[in-house]
Amino acid sequence: MGKTTIAGTLARALSRSGHDVLALDCDANPMLGISLGLGAERTEELVSAREGLESGDTPHQPTAAGMEETFGTDAPDGVRLVVAARVEQVEPGCMCCGVSPHQLLRDMEGESRMVVGDLEAGTGTLMRMPQGGANLALVITQPTAKAMQVARHALEAAKQRAIPAVLIANRVRTDADVELIRTTMGPQVGIPMAILAVPEDAAVAQADQDGLAPADVAPESPAVLAVQRLGQSVSEFAGAR
């Protein structure tokens, strides 16, 4: 779909335009560090620390600060990355593991930074969110049957929870691709505030293959520029609230 690619690129764009950004990796297979440009080695260090909760090698972090310290790092452009992947060996009530991504987002109510969460594929996390559980949902889709099916459900889930949604039509090659997505989403589901297209981009695919951030190796590529424009919209949306 491009969730991680877009989340990483967006977090950096927001940070560069002056926001304090916390990038929260909530995927069971955390990869946000790669798209942020942190590199495979540092990303794996954070993931190993997280895995250590399961094996007992990493001590639990009952405070938000401890959690951010142990599972987090500074990433390029001043983004703060925290790996918050779901853990199975939880200690009840513990901040670092006992919370699921949706609780984590809720607990961040007083958070002054802009939080960009890379959620697990599908609608699971969104479905567990309470009313207004996030300020904005970016629903990423592609012009394929599977991707559009998931996006329809995600838009519906966002609507039910009164979470404003923007639909990102990723990897589109032609206007017909965007049109297909627009018509497939149809009026029967929660209508997104906007549909934003991110083009299929060979430079992004190459960056991904090499494990590098699109923002570093292809800052002027069409897809990165599109995500930057998305960043401006998000910024305006946040300002208007």
């Binding site: 297979n29 895995e51 399961e54 199975e88 049957a145 099916q149 998931v150 293959q209 494990g211």
Partner: protein, 257 residues
Amino acid sequence: MKLAVVGEGRSETTPIGTRGEPLRIAVSGKGGAGKSLVSGILARVLARQHRVLVVDLDVLPGVALSLGRPGGSPVVRGVAPFERLLERLTEPAPDGVRLLPAATYASRGKVGPVLTTLAAFAGASHRLARGRPLARWSIVGDLPAGPRPTAYRQYIAYADVLLVIAEPTVQSILTAQRVLRMSRSRPELAVRVVANKVADEEDAELLERELGEPIFATIPFDEEVRAAERCGEALVDRAPDSPAVVAVEEIVAALRA
């Protein structure tokens, strides 16, 4: 059936099953790596010899599409209580394959009056796989993306072999490494890395080098995959001689070689 063992003294040539014996396979890897595609083709290829149960453990749409729509093929025959149960819980797919949408059931919080949770199903399927009712069935499990401790401990308890599908990209390689790390908690599970969407020899070599694991099989990038998806047909039906199908046929043969 001989089991290949991961770890010390493992032999890559140890057969998982001999010809004629059912295979118990689980398929893992990064999102988009090709798990569902491979699972679907595997099931259809195995169905030429056995009854096949596909366990869909991923909530995302996938293996149902690569299996194809059911035709006029026979559904579960027989009247044994287990087969009636199986017929009730599973959906028909072509060639008599039965599809258990386990993840969908689990996300709705019920599997029915008998099997109330996915974990319960997993435990039951494990016992059943070893017992009479499923003894002659091959089983293919399409796992959710990435390393999933519960899945490895419970949901694929039935499996003899784990296929890790990897693309020649950094994230796919990292995912394969994470999955390999986790699979060590089940040393009796044979693990085989399958390189998918491979363009050339260099791609496969890169994967092997980065993973530090031998590549068991290679599936080339196949244009027919997208074409089949676009018209909503299974690749095995639309292009039975396409490179990806042939490669999966070779995987089945190699697992038994």
